[in-house]
């Protein structure tokens, strides 16, 4: 039986929701809508308004969330859940300092002793060197004085003998050695050592300077 009076807006909305959800519209309401022109017009306006809103919103969202963006979103989600369920790797640190291990006091004491020993060694070495030079100088002066007294020519000192030219055989061997060294340095695999070589005084250079 069709309704005698016009439908309230709430009933119109119920009809719209039922129709949209694929449900059966209440038969008396459906009959009234079919028969009443005014209610039919109101219903059509409501449907138009609601559908317009829905389609507009859907189109707006779809324009922002394009298929590419949705794909990227999906990838991000999958990346984020990659670590879910995996236990975190915990690196354990020793609770107490290891016995016999490195402690804060030990190296400082050792360093102090090493420094003290090195300073003492340097001091002793320097003092011994000075003492030896002093005694040698005294000996040379004595020898020179005695030679002058004897009237003989002074004998070459050890120092003079040390700076005397080496025998030719030894010099050739040195030259051969240096030549070999230069050849070795020219090899590609030893080029990396050249900077170190540049920092090292060459034997030949020293020899020439002394000469």
């Amino acid at each position: 039986m069709a309704l005698a009076h016009h439908l309230h807006d709430e009933r119109l909305l119920d009809c719209y929701l039922a129709e949209r959800g694929g449900e059966i519209v209440d038969p008396p309401l459906a009959e009234h809508l079919a028969e009443c022109g005014a209610c039919g017009t109101r219903y059509a306006e409501l449907v138009h308004f609601m559908e317009d809103l829905r389609e507009g919103a859907a189109a707006e969202s779809d324009a922002v969330f394009t298929p590419d963006r949705l794909r990227a979103q999906q990838q991000k989600i999958l990346r984020r859940i990659e670590h879910v369920g995996r236990s975190a790797r915990v690196i354990s640190f020793p609770a107490a300092p290891v016995r016999g291990g490195i402690t804060s006091g030990t190296p400082r004491v050792a360093t102090r002793w090493i420094a003290a020993a090195a300073a003492a060694g340097l001091f002793v070495g320097a003092a011994a060197g000075l003492f030896l030079d002093f005694t040698r100088g005294d000996r040379q002066v004595t020898q020179l004085a005695s030679a002058r007294t004897d009237g003989s020519a002074p004998r070459p000192t050890r120092l003079a003998g040390r700076t005397a030219p080496a025998p030719p055989s030894s010099e050739a061997a040195d030259e051969a050695f240096l030549s070999d060294l230069e050849t070795a340095l020219d090899r590609p695999q030893t080029r990396e050592l050249k900077p170190f070589d540049a920092l090292t005084p060459h034997v030949g250079l020293i020899t020439n300077t002394i000469r």
Partner: protein
């Protein structure tokens, strides 16, 4: 703003990841188990057995099935594409993290949408809080508006694009003037394509209350937008 909606949703959050409380307020929606709910149960089983790689693979299918609708709801709720994107991602990640607490008595979509809406409400709340303390920047989504305009009216003239943009702006403004519950119900029902019964399950409100909120929301929107 919409704390009332959040309360209503939480009250009904039976075993939801947000609360973890047992069911207390609402009964599950009866009906046949949907395909996605079945898939969610399968993923839950895989996670429980520790077969994580396969679980992730299946979850990808679940994401693909729901992400468009979820993005639509989140975007309409937040009016910012980047924030909506993050909200959707967070919701899916949360679902995967708590998949073992999923009960098949609830349709997956209901469970998921509730998590999504709660996330969106939290973001809106945070945004409002920021708005109280910081000078608001340019309107949240001019770039999104532009993208939407380009996407919607590629072939339209500038005047049509401008009108479309103005209309969307008016609509967004009108929706913002709805109360929290009205907005949530309207979003889920109208933009999320959910029936009042499903929205009732999602929000914890009675079905008749959902209908009332929806009716009031529609009436208010028509009043504000002048019937369009």
């Amino acid at each position: 703003m919409s704390s009332d909606v959040r309360t209503a949703i939480d009250a009904a959050a039976a075993g939801s990841p947000d609360t973890g409380h047992p069911a207390r307020a609402r009964r599950p929606v009866p009906g046949p188990v949907s395909e996605d709910s079945r898939l969610a149960v399968e993923i839950r089983g895989l996670v429980e057995r520790g077969v994580m790689d396969e679980a992730r693979e299946r979850f990808g299918a679940l994401v693909a099935a729901h992400q468009r609708r979820a993005s639509r709801i989140a975007f309409q709720y937040l009016r910012d594409a980047a924030e909506a994107d993050e909200a959707v991602q967070d919701a899916f990640v949360k679902v995967f993290e708590h998949i073992t607490s999923y009960k098949e008595a609830w349709p997956f979509e209901v469970w998921f949408t509730r998590i999504l809406i709660n996330g969106c409400l939290d973001r809106r709340k945070a945004r409002a809080r920021r708005g109280r303390w910081f000078v608001p920047a340019e309107e949240a989504g001019p770039l999104d508006e532009m993208r939407a305009s380009v996407g919607l009216a590629n072939d339209a003239n500038p005047e049509s694009r401008l009108l479309a943009r103005e209309r969307r702006s008016r609509l967004a403004g009108a929706i913002d003037r709805l109360s929290g519950r009205q907005r949530t119900v309207f979003m889920l029902c109208h933009y999320g394509d959910r029936t009042p019964r499903e929205v009732s399950a999602m929000t914890g409100l009675n079905e008749s209350t959902v209908r009332v909120h929806l009716f009031r929301a529609a009436r208010k929107l028509r009043g504000l937008l002048g019937g369009q």
